[in-house]
């Protein structure tokens, strides 16, 4: 049986290695194909019109710049009376930047590549993770552990090799945002954090770029177009940043995969409308999507604010001010939503590592383990014999801790340990327990994540 297990592990690892090699090769092929098209295009442009993909470098003699191959590829869009060849031609000459290749960016990029945007930029510095796959549908398993930009670019090239894909493998910061955004006609905000939203909006105002902004969390989504046709910017609507406690992350609150997918598709649609100059962009309006109740509401929002500090009548927000503005300080939250904050509320003797806790467990120490995660987290996975009292209910359920301690200790003193997912809420709980007299309470440093990392690698993480 053991050798069977070892064989399976070896085969799995070989498959994994081969898959990685395969996706590498595929990425190289699609990059080379794009290069080749580019070269052919330049040569053809000199000699004949051929099947040059770039609208800017060809003239088929039909007046609209579409090659026969393009006419065939985009025919179903050309057939639309309200879109047609003029809008397609506009689109082919346009450039769109998508900031974030995550849940929103995935479908947005796929559709923007497919529909024939001339140049498509992708900014991200994250890597693909297994827990992204349920919503970030542009990435495939073979790309886990690799840069999202590389993965997304390969997927876009595979769909449409005639679109110029630009990979910006870096986090967007005030130091590089002006330079990157200035190269595009339309900006799509598909990021996942508050400082990023302010930064991108301000940068769009400074550069005069339309911004298609989408957000999704849990089972809800929001969408609007800022800084376009006299409409408001993000700051007109939200001049003061929300408290950090109001900025939930998908990694804490969860998100149903299809919800950002829907908002991302709508972002692609708004970007296409702006780039091709058709229809009415969602300016001065906001779309609110509630997946659970199946409701979409489109509401009228305020116009550009005369008093806006960035785009208002007397505002003088310059490029230099933008570069010097501290967005993380302004919003009190980090520009990268993937790094959860680590609290340090307690002194060392009120804390214990997961390894030490495991030692005490093995030594048969009499104790109570309170898990302060919300109930729906506890139902996913928990340590045996732990007592679930969510932090929000701790105050009301102290009696349960007291009675569990009495039951456990008999004549001896029973210890009290508190655990949570990452080791933040457990510290808050221990702080509170100390205050009201449970002075021996200790938190397990790093929570269940450290348990899984340092004690039991087979323990599921989420």
């Amino acid at each position: 049986m053991d050798s069977g297990g070892a064989d399976a592990a070896r085969i799995l690892s070989e498959i994994k290695g081969l898959k990685a090699t395969k996706s590498d090769i595929e990425a190289k092929i699609s990059a080379l194909e794009a290069q080749l098209k580019d070269l052919n295009c330049r040569n053809d442009a000199v000699s004949s019109n051929g099947s040059c993909p770039l609208a800017t470098s060809l003239d088929s003699g039909l007046g609209h710049g579409l090659s026969p191959e393009m006419i065939h590829r985009y025919s179903r869009q050309l057939l639309l009376p309200s879109f047609g060849v003029q809008a397609q031609s506009n689109l082919l000459k346009s450039s769109i930047l998508v900031v974030g290749a995550g849940g929103l960016g995935s479908p947005a990029l796929l559709y923007l590549a497919a529909c024939g945007v001339g140049r498509l930029g992708i900014v991200d510095n994250d890597e693909v993770e297994l827990n992204n796959m349920h919503r970030q549908i542009i990435h495939t398993e073979a790309y886990i552990g690799r840069l999202k930009v590389e993965s997304a670019a390969a997927a876009c090239r595979a769909i449409n090799s005639t679109v110029q894909i630009v990979e910006h493998k870096e986090a967007l910061r005030t130091s590089n945002a002006l330079e990157i955004l200035s190269k595009y006609d339309v900006v799509v905000d598909a990021t996942d954090n508050a400082p990023g939203r302010y930064m991108i909006s301000d940068c769009c105002v400074v550069l005069g770029k339309p911004l298609v902004s989408g957000a999704a969390l849990g089972l809800e989504g929001q969408l609007s177009v800022y800084n376009y046709n006299g409409g408001p910017c993000y700051r007109c609507l939200f001049p003061t940043p929300p408290p950090t406690t109001a900025c939930q992350r998908c990694s804490d609150s969860g998100v149903l995969g299809v919800v950002p997918g829907i908002i991302g598709c709508l972002q692609a649609l708004e970007a296409i409308k702006i780039a091709s100059a058709v229809g009415e962009p969602l300016v001065g309006r906001m779309l609110l999507f509630d997946a659970l109740s199946g409701r979409i509401r489109i509401v009228k929002i305020r116009g550009r604010s005369l008093h806006c500090e960035v785009c208002g009548e007397n505002a003088t927000f310059t490029r230099q001010q933008f570069q010097e503005f501290d967005y993380e300080k302004f919003t009190q939250s980090p520009l990268s939503a993937s790094a959860p904050p680590k609290l340090n509320l307690l002194s060392g003797d009120s804390r214990i590592s997961s390894k030490d806790y495991n030692e005490r467990l093995k030594n048969g120490e009499v104790h109570i383990l309170v898990d302060v995660r919300p109930e729906h987290h506890f139902r996913i996975v928990s340590l045996p014999n732990s007592l679930n009292i969510p932090l929000s209910t701790l105050e009301k359920r102290l009696a349960e801790i007291s009675s569990a301690l009495r039951e456990a200790e008999g004549q001896r003193d029973a210890s009290l340990y508190v655990i949570c997912r990452r080791g933040n809420d457990s510290q808050r709980a221990v702080n509170y327990l100390h205050d009201i007299g449970f002075t021996s309470a200790k938190d397990i440093i790093g929570g269940l994540e450290s348990w899984a990392r340092d004690v039991d690698p087979s323990f599921p993480t989420y």
């Binding site: 929103l104 989408g214 957000a215 003061t240 109001a246 939930q248």
Partner: protein, 99 residues
């Protein structure tokens, strides 16, 4: 006066996860009309069950909350001074940042 009050973007978590509330509210004594100012106080006292600081800051909603009266930003109707009428729908929605 019958009003519909809705919460979204996570604010419903402050009211036992109930999003839609059909409420009956009296115009304050001596006042001619019910204003959003009055409704905010009523909502805080009657619907918000936890963490009121996630809803109110000072005498208005906290930053990051959009208020919509009949699908229209209350900035366009006078914010706290917006007067309400029978069957109006008031939505409080927290802006989302995730993606």
């Amino acid at each position: 006066m019958q009003l519909t009050v809705e919460f979204g973007g996570g604010l419903e978590l402050l009211c036992n996860s109930v999003k839609i509330h059909n409420i009956n509210i009296e115009t304050p004594k001596g006042a001619q009309q019910l204003a959003m100012r009055d409704l905010l106080v009523w909502v805080q006292n009657n619907l918000i069950k936890e963490r009121p600081e996630m809803f109110i800051k000072g005498d208005t909603v906290r930053p990051g909350v959009l208020v919509l009266v009949n699908d229209c930003d209350w900035e366009l109707s006078g914010q706290l001074d917006t007067t309400l009428e029978e069957k109006d729908v008031v939505v409080f929605i927290s802006t989302l940042h995730g993606g």
